[in-house]
Symmetry: C2
Subunit: 898 residues, 2 copies
């Protein structure tokens, strides 16, 4: 038997079905499926993707066999339609469309109204009674065919029309009359001949064959190739070609066309939703020339068709078990479905639809959970711009931390603190550093001109749940003169701007925002009864929690963050960054005293002053997390982050010297500079930081351990259940961890002795260096738990500094060298492989070892699913991403089963 | 049958043998082996390491069985010696020594003269006729026993002697007479009793039992534990205890003691070499109180003993098939061998001995090659300090690049160039940067106060074959005032200093150096006939070359380096760093013009000026390497390295503004600063460098590719055979390489078309990021070869910046957290694992792929052997390390066979 290359659909039966996307492409499979379900679809046939591959393997020619099968299917189509392709009366016209396995919107070619020529245009006129429509279709067909099939620039056609309109002094195409269009048809045919050296083909079969090959060729046009590269689509899949009878909604008042949804895609309400136009074509609905009617009116206009449409679409919803987004045409009272697909929807709608469909017993709870995209939950948690507001966008940066914020612009953390006493501020910086934290904390949002997707500003903003637009390189920040500019626009201190962290937009002026309802309920600002969303949200999250096996913890440093994290469902703290506490206004001078100490003795004195403060920090966190584990990371950043900037001090001294300033002051500043020079590093990210600090200055580790254990002891006496997990950062060699562990255990013993209560604790390490992952078996001898620090691991695995990579990383993303920033989603091929090695080797030494992740990736859905698949015990992320992680963890588990 | 715990040796027969190091320890096995070979060794017995382990498993007590076996062996020893332990006349005295499988010099305990008490000391007096000697031995024994066995601080004994000497007004121990010593014995016994609460044990058996247990206990003293940690010795091996009859070389003029070598350890000449003293103890020979006689004189003094000694040592040399370093004692005309071991020797001796022994058919060529330590060859290649010179060492830094150099101190590269026109210079810098290269090139040596073992100064010095002492933190360099100081010593510009790169010493003043003979012959400065070394060197290297399978290439950027590399045996260039060419005085302004260009057009203009220069560079290299492959790496460093320093410019501008300087100048400098700010990075090592440059500025890659291909074309026409390998640096993602490859191939096609000659070339990549190793299978689809850049790979795998890590890395090495710097020898557990993954995955995609290494490790012996084992095709290293790599490669191959 000959191989089947062409698949027919029509009259309630199709050769293929919905599962055959490999062979029929997405569109072809959908048409077959609808046809089989008894939905009225204009009939037609699909030439398979296999034919496309044959075409390429055979010097871009199809075989006789394929051509014969296509011809036979055309005959069958003519028979079903009782029309002849390009016939003289009531001609069959067809559309020819591409359609590959994965949707590649707009990348390949389409030709409509195929079959028109000087004869059939008359048949069409006769049939429709609308000569103008017929010649307009003919004109369009010539241009589309010339452009798509023969590569003639559209301009060669369009300038004729422009000239004609100028001559007649009219502006709109619709003002052209039938005579004009007839004239244009002649001009277009001439243009075609001039440009191609060939007469425009009048033979409909020739038209079809040429178009079919053109569609196959369009699989390898440059933009399609680039699209596939970017989206990682296999170049060998090929496209199918769909040849389908044209139907017309503009054949009179018994014809119509429209689009719709089976439920409201914005709110999720179960209501028939959409719009239509009588005597119109599909593009008219979208074009907005005439105002379409709400679909409910169709019941009055065409009761029969309406009834049928409602029945069909609700059948389709049941068939696909999801909200359908459909297109239809009514040609002379006969309804045709042109397309149906699962409808896109907002987070609000996604949740409502999912919950409703479970109640309707249409889908299971598991399916409901899968219907909500974790990333979408962001929408529900962050304040958003009032969608009705009119806005003036002046720049666009990275959409770094979602939510909208308006505020008066300030350029330093100090100014932010001062201004914030009386107004809302928006902090604008070249980039932020840890000593900007107090300024960030009081501002509504943060805008930076430099820094990538996980730069300091972004990480801290997300953790604080504050909107942030980062790396907005088109704005020039002049911090000294307290202004920034974009082209000719200048924004000064005190001017109002608004940022939309969800889209990266920077907007001039104040825009009203709407606060998230979920957050309002969770924080007790809104009664749950007043919320339409909350119960559905809660339900879907409870289903997700029942399904998932991966735990979710929060990255939180202060009690306030810990509290909101618990409200959002955190099952412990996975990362408390102790250095954030060092930057507090009243502590920084003591921290500096400690760093600048000349002797160990002086250093210990300063540390002794910090001890009671750190202890109170930990007590606050422990109280909020009563009964849940709290992972505390020992001091991590390079010490010079706590000191004045080296170059600024150099400038100060030089100026003081040049202007014969106070000698004592100069000598004092020089002494400070000396110490800063000592600590200066070319690549601080790879320098004296992490556990290297605690090894070099063991007194720091001792102080931090003491603060943890004393806090635990005091609260244990009060009846709290405290589970501290002490985490040593940046370990690459097992002996590093061992030496720190000894100090910690020693301190624990001392404190326990005094306290008299037994303290339960564990000591583990971050796995954030390639060497740590590679030697995880050795490290697990000492480590009781691992936590992947994927920010640093990504930096070292790629050799990308996250502070500096913005420039080339953006270039990489724009030019398809990378698909996604590895700082946003875990790079599964590289970083992920190291994680796998780390898990496998770690558990080889210590079976069942607790292993988590506390990098920024812990709240990114694809990364969470990867963590689940890799066998991690938990993910930890910033508080506002916890619901996302919970849902993604459930998705991971459900996808396992498949 | 009972388990054997104790092994006797004596009278020409031993229970054990030389292979039983596990059970007998190194010393015990050696004594057994010598005894079995008929060498006269004082008899004794060894209590096994198994007994030690039993001791620890059994609460630090031996079993009855073990004690009985030990007692039996003591009886046997007494019988053989015909003496009784601690007997009243002619007493048997013994030494008790530790001895584990691996030598742990000085870590564990030893007691000599055991068996002395108030009775036996009289027997000893009688026997030796030397009462003073007997009581001195007794005094020493009490102190040693008290200290080693009972843990009494030596001070408790020694203060008595100090007091006595003070009272008598004498300085030396030797000035004490017999009466004094008798008095001291009584005082010591009293001190023993006071400190331990016990009477000093007079029972020799009790003395022995207590000492035996003390030696076992010393296995776990803190310094032994630390030593084992540092040297990775298993803590469960345990130590043996050797109990051996004491013999005395000081029993009169028929007694003597001495040390010697079977061949000259300095030159390798085959001559009996050593020295001795009549009527003396071992320590007298070393102590230098009396001047020992050359060993040849012994023939006259004691002809019988001399003949026997010569016969025995030459037999031992044959037995061990290596130069022996021996100790002997003649007691009343009877010769005893106390120790023999393979003798340490200089590189010169190692080579001569190895070659001679092959000629003597004592060893094979393979063994000869293994007898020369690759690292030793350094001695033969670098000029060395005249060993006879008197020197004043003022500081010590890292022994970074071997060789000795004297010069007048200069503090900037410019000064170096100027001074060097009329004198020898020594460049002293806080640290060097690429724009110091011309200054380094003209200086005799380099001294830096900062930077680790592979800092810029070190890497470049080694490549240039120049002596360098780096990271000498005790010196304070004041570049501004052109001076440096160490404590109270100040060295100013123009002062002479000398550095010894082999030891890290910094020496005040000029010291004569001796240039390497090998280099003189290789460079034609010395006729081979005048060299005593060269032929042997050449022979051993030719044997190494026959054996090895790993190829050896050179890292060389300029024709002069390439030439010396060839002379030293390089089989191609493995790394030509094109950026080094950019720093040349006449080019830097053009490079800056290129970097500062505002438009692509201006950048291309500057690049067009660089093109002919680069082409000439490559032609020079290609000519030297005619027929051999030349790997050229595209531009790698961050661009700001070519620009003035940011902070210096900031200071300049601030000062100009504060002092109301020229406005035009200020604005010009500000513009420059703007661009430098643009390029400024927090972690340049992880920023816009490597292939990221060529991707961001494709015109740079195009220029470099064009220079390579045009050079290849022109020389091909002249008849040269050119094999360029173009290497793309810092690839982490296959698409990076792909995009650069496309540019290179495009350029190659253009040049080939014009040239008319077919050019053979290949395109590959560095594997220097963890992600590159992990995804080597993907990268190998594009890469035709790999070269491991282990400097960068080490930096990213460990998260250590090699410029900044000096501080904590030294601390790590001193505190046993690391054994070796991973920048010196490949970290086989971490970095090496990534290399293995890279090789395995790369060759999975591209079987038999050419894979090399071009990091600094390519010339370090253990790393070269690792590369061999990992299946690399070649190593590439700085020219002066090529012989080392050749020899190490042969070692690797020979160790395979074992």
């Amino acid at each position: 038997m000959a191989k089947k290359w062409v698949y027919f659909f029509g009259n309630g039966k199709a050769d293929g079905n919905g599962k055959m996307k490999d062979v029929l492409g997405g569109k072809g499979a959908g048409l077959a499926e609808m046809t089989n379900s008894g939905v009225p679809v204009p009939p037609g046939f699909t030439i398979s993707t296999e034919a496309c591959n044959f075409f390429y393997d055979n010097k871009r020619k199809l075989s006789k066999e394929i051509i014969e099968q296509a011809d036979k299917n055309l005959l069958r189509l003519e028979k079903v339609m009782n029309k002849k392709l390009g016939g003289k009366s009531d001609p069959l016209l067809v559309s020819v469309r591409s359609g590959s396995k994965f949707s590649m919107p707009g990348m390949m070619d389409t030709v409509l109204n195929l079959g028109l020529n000087d004869d059939s245009v008359k048949g069409l006129t006769e049939k429709t009674g609308n000569e103008r429509f017929a010649y307009d279709a003919y004109r369009r067909f010539i241009q589309m065919f010339g452009n798509v099939v023969m590569g003639v620039d559209k301009e060669h056609f369009e300038h004729h029309m422009t000239e004609m309109k100028n001559k007649k002094g009219i502006k709109l195409d619709t003002e052209l009359n039938t005579g004009d269009l007839k004239q244009l048809v002649e001009m277009y045919k001439k243009a075609y001949q001039e440009q191609t050296g060939q007469v425009f083909p009048t033979d409909p079969k020739k038209q079809l064959a040429m178009t079919r090959d053109a569609v196959f060729n369009s699989w390898n046009n440059p933009r399609a190739i680039t699209y596939r590269k970017i989206h990682n689509i296999d170049h060998n899949l090929g496209t199918a070609v769909n040849v389908q009878a044209m139907v017309f909604g503009n054949m009179g008042n018994d014809s119509a066309t429209g689009v719709g949804f089976t439920r409201n895609p914005s709110t999720g309400e179960k209501m028939f939703y959409g719009e239509y136009l009588i005597n119109a074509q599909g593009e008219d609905v979208v074009a907005g020339i005439r105002t379409p009617n709400p679909i409910a009116h169709l019941e009055k206009d065409m009761p029969e068709a309406f009834k049928q449409l409602k029945a069909i679409t609700s059948r389709l919803e049941k068939h696909y078990r999801d909200v359908q987004d459909f297109e239809f045409t009514i040609e002379k009272n006969t309804l045709y479905m042109l397309q149906t697909r699962n409808g896109k929807r907002t987070a609000f709608a996604a949740i409502k639809v999912a919950v409703d469909m479970v109640r309707e017993k249409l889908i299971t709870k598991e399916e409901a959970v899968l219907r909500v995209e974790p990333q979408q939950l962001d929408q529900m948690l962050h304040p958003i711009l009032d969608p009705k507001a009119k806005i003036q966008v002046i720049a666009k940066g990275l959409n770094a931390s979602p939510g909208a914020a308006s505020g008066q612009v300030v350029f330093t953390a100090e100014d932010a603190v001062n201004w914030a006493k009386k107004t809302k501020t928006l902090l604008v910086r070249m980039e932020t550093s840890p000593d900007d934290i107090h300024g960030m904390a009081v501002s509504e949002g943060i805008l930076t001109s430099r820094g990538g997707a996980t730069s300091h500003a972004v990480v801290v903003s997300r953790q604080m749940g504050k909107p942030c637009v980062a790396g907005c390189e088109t704005i020039k920040v002049d911090e000294k003169n307290k202004m920034f500019s974009i082209n000719s626009t200048t924004v000064r201190e005190g001017d109002w701007i608004t940022i939309d962290g969800g889209t990266g937009r920077v907007i001039l002026g104040k825009v009203d925002t709407v606060e998230s309802e979920i957050i309002q309920v969770l924080t007790g600002k809104l009664d749950v009864k007043q919320s339409t969303l909350f119960n559905d949200y809660k339900l879907i999250m409870s289903w997700a929690d029942q399904i998932r096996s991966l735990k979710v913890r929060a990255n939180a440093d202060i009690p306030r963050d810990a509290k909101i994290a618990r409200a959002l469902g955190a099952e412990g703290i996975g990362l408390c960054r102790t250095e954030h506490m060092f930057f507090a206004e009243e502590r920084l001078p003591i921290v500096q005293e400690m760093i600048l100490a000349d002797t160990e003795e002086d250093r210990i004195k300063a540390l002794d002053k910090l001890l009671p403060m750190q202890k109170e920090d930990f007590k606050g966190l422990f109280r909020e997390m009563d009964g849940y584990p709290v992972t505390i990371r020992l001091l991590d950043p390079p010490l010079h982050e706590f000191l004045p900037k080296r170059e600024e001090l150099m400038v100060e001294i030089a100026v003081l010297e040049a202007t014969k300033g106070d000698i004592n002051l100069i000598s004092q500043k020089k002494k400070l500079l000396d110490r800063i020079q000592d600590l200066h590093e070319f690549n601080p990210m790879l320098g004296l930081r992490g556990c290297r600090l605690g090894i070099y200055y063991p007194e720091i580790t001792r102080m931090q351990a003491r603060a943890i254990f004393e806090a635990a002891c005091e609260l244990t006496k009060e009846g709290y259940k405290i589970v501290p997990e002490i985490m040593v950062p940046l370990v690459g060699i097992v002996t590093e961890l061992k030496s720190q562990k000894e100090l910690i255990i020693e301190t624990a013993k001392e404190v326990t002795k005094k306290c008299g209560k037994k303290l339960t604790y564990s000591i583990g390490t971050m796995i954030e260096l390639p060497r740590a992952a590679i030697t995880a078996d050795e490290i697990a001898v000492e480590a009781e738990f691992f936590s992947f620090g994927t920010n640093d691991l990504t930096q070292t695995t790629f050799g990308f500094s996250r502070d500096d990579s913005g420039k080339f990383l953006n270039y990489y993303l724009e030019n398809g060298i990378l698909e996604t920033s590895p700082f946003q989603a875990i790079d599964q091929k590289g970083v992920g492989q190291l994680m796998k090695i780390g898990v496998e080797k770690g558990r080889r030494t210590r079976p069942g070892m607790k292993i988590g992740i506390c990098g920024e990736h812990g709240g990114e859905p694809s990364s969470v699913e990867f963590c689940h698949r890799t066998g991690l015990s938990y993910v930890s992320c910033s508080p506002f991403r916890i619901p996302i992680a919970r849902l993604a963890a459930a998705h991971g588990k459900l996808k396992d089963k498949k």
